[in-house]
């Protein structure tokens, strides 16, 4: 019974200051929720119940910063997604944890059911005629590509990936964890070799802050956000102390007072 005497303690939890012990306790719980979400994703209904998902859990300031930087790099490769990627990189920096979900069958071991989703009436021929194959086996070793993702992919497997990350989202939302799935996070994660065997990757960012990082995004968000605000305060306030007041008296012996009216 002694072990129950060990089961006592006090844990202070507060999201502020950022990355303090009390904040990291909060983040640890988000991480637990993220692990449950990954388990939910692995039980998602998929065609034939065939295992096809690989997942990566990524957390820590440096690790998230690396993904955000990759998103910013990718932002400048396409005008149509530039603003979106830049906004979402801010969200990643504010998040507690990233969940990556990839499908490792979509490019190599398709459903082979002639379902028609990838190319229509021609069934699986759409996929096979545009892939490197030998006797029905797909050779994926030539990974060179002119596009960010090397297609074509088995659309049925891609569809299944939707069920997979959505099940993770359902679990996170059920646990009242703020979360959103992103193409941008997934693409950056794929370029950083998360879910290394997958042809297509989706990233979910999750957090448990008082204000969800994924809603109410103002204009020029990559320039005007909480981190920038705080940093600008750090940058300016030290100067303001000196120039606006502090340098002009010795606080130990003096204190400016109202001049007497007479």
């Amino acid at each position: 019974m002694e072990r129950f005497d060990q089961l006592r303690g006090e844990e202070y939890i507060n999201e502020w200051p950022k990355s303090s012990a009390q904040d990291l306790r909060r983040k640890e719980a988000t991480l637990t929720a993220a692990k449950l979400a990954i388990n939910a994703a692995l039980t998602a209904p998929v065609a034939g119940g065939v295992a096809q998902a690989e997942t990566h859990l990524v957390y820590g300031q440096e690790e998230l910063g690396k993904v955000a930087k990759k998103m910013e790099e990718l932002a400048y490769t396409n005008d149509r997604w530039k603003q979106r990627f830049l906004n979402e990189a801010v969200m990643v920096r504010e998040s507690d944890v990233l969940l990556f979900f990839g499908n490792y069958r979509a490019h190599e071991t398709p459903l082979d059911a002639n379902c028609g989703l990838c190319g229509g009436a021609a069934g699986c021929s759409f996929f096979y005629e545009r892939s490197e194959t030998k006797g029905g086996l797909v050779d994926i070793t030539d990974r060179r590509s002119n596009t960010p993702i090397k297609g074509p992919l088995c659309a049925c497997r891609v569809n299944d990936l939707g069920y997979i990350w959505a099940s993770a989202m359902w679990m996170l939302q059920t646990l009242l964890v703020d979360a959103r799935p992103f193409m941008s996070v997934g693409l950056a994660g794929q370029k950083l070799d998360y879910c290394p065997d997958s042809a297509i990757v989706v990233g979910i960012a999750a957090s448990t802050l008082s204000k969800s990082p994924y809603q109410d995004i103002n204009i020029d968000y990559h320039l005007v956000n909480m981190e920038k605000m705080i940093d600008n305060t750090r940058k300016n306030w030290v100067v303001s102390r000196q120039t606006a007041s502090g340098i002009n008296f010795d606080y130990r012996t003096q204190y400016p007072r109202k001049q007497k009216e007479d």
Binding site: G116, L117, N146, G162, A166, M169, M183
Partner: protein, 279 residues
């Protein structure tokens, strides 16, 4: 004071849950923020065209045969069953992400190909934008998760979606999933007790041998292993062979599909009428 017999009360609740599942499908998070899904809840006699479609196609599709037996049983038994149909058009892409996942270098090329070649495979139509395809999956997933939260069994079925679109439901969509919800019970779409008598043990064994022969292969060193098809398999060896479908089989497929098409033709005008009335 009103009293309700439980099983009768479930008739209302299964429909109510299907409505909530439809709402959940719209609540599903999206990667594109562009996909428009369509949903319909099909009840009562409006399920008959789907079941009849299953019946005609089942001689050439055992999977549809299983689903036919299941849905027919629930209908004949008067069990509360509704079908939530979710559809979307995935064959156009306005994203301009040019990601390449669909197999084309740009979304413009994809759209051009889609306009000229859009067509239907065995279950769905294509081609499909990969990101919209995932958003469609997410919508179906949320509907299923909602049903599960209410402890109603359901199953997302491409077969039901294909049958529904085959007879004309949700005509403007390229992808359809049918989610039968209810009747109340434990894993009614997995442990299908009522199907037991419809399929003999011999057919179970033969299906397994056909679809997973590796499990019953004898020593393959001679490069022509026999199949262990019976207890004394060595006495009358049988071998897996490669053969093209015979003319008779092809003719059977054609005849079966003609019957399937006649089901479509029988119901399509009436179902189309419902949509034109709504416009």
């Amino acid at each position: 004071m009103a009293r309700y017999e439980g099983k009768e009360a479930i008739r209302d609740s299964v429909l109510q849950v299907a409505k909530l599942c439809a709402a959940a499908a719209y609540k599903a998070p999206q990667l594109t923020a562009k996909l428009e899904i369509k949903t319909e809840i099909i009840t009562g006699e409006d399920q008959e065209p789907i079941i009849e479609f299953f019946k005609e196609v089942s001689p050439i599709s055992p999977v549809m045969g299983f689903d036919y037996e299941t849905l027919k049983h629930f209908r004949e038994n008067g069990d509360p069953l509704v079908i939530l149909l979710i559809g979307a058009d995935l064959t156009s892409c306005e994203l301009s992400w040019n990601c390449g996942a669909c197999g084309f270098e740009t979304c413009a090329e994809f759209n051009k190909f889609a306009r000229a070649n859009k067509g239907r495979g065995s279950l769905w139509s294509g081609p499909s934008c990969s990101w919209k395809t995932m958003d469609f999956g997410a919508a179906c997933d949320y509907a299923c998760a909602a049903a599960a939260q209410y402890r109603f069994d359901c199953r997302a079925m491409a077969t039901v979606g294909a049958a529904a679109s085959g007879v004309g439901y949700l005509p403007d969509c390229s992808a359809h999933i049918g989610i039968p919800i209810g009747p109340a019970g434990d894993f009614v779409y997995y442990s299908r007790q009522q199907n037991m008598k419809k399929f003999s043990v011999e057919s179970h064994r033969e299906n397994l041998l056909r679809s997973a022969p590796t499990n019953w292969l004898s020593f393959p060193g001679g490069t022509k292993p026999s199949l262990k098809h019976q207890d004394n398999w060595w006495a009358e060896p049988v071998y897996p062979t490669f053969e093209k479908a015979s003319p008779e089989e092809m003719q059977f497929v054609e005849e079966t599909m003609a019957k399937v098409n006649s089901v479509s033709e029988k119901y399509a005008p009436k179902i189309a009428e419902w949509y034109s009335d709504k416009k």
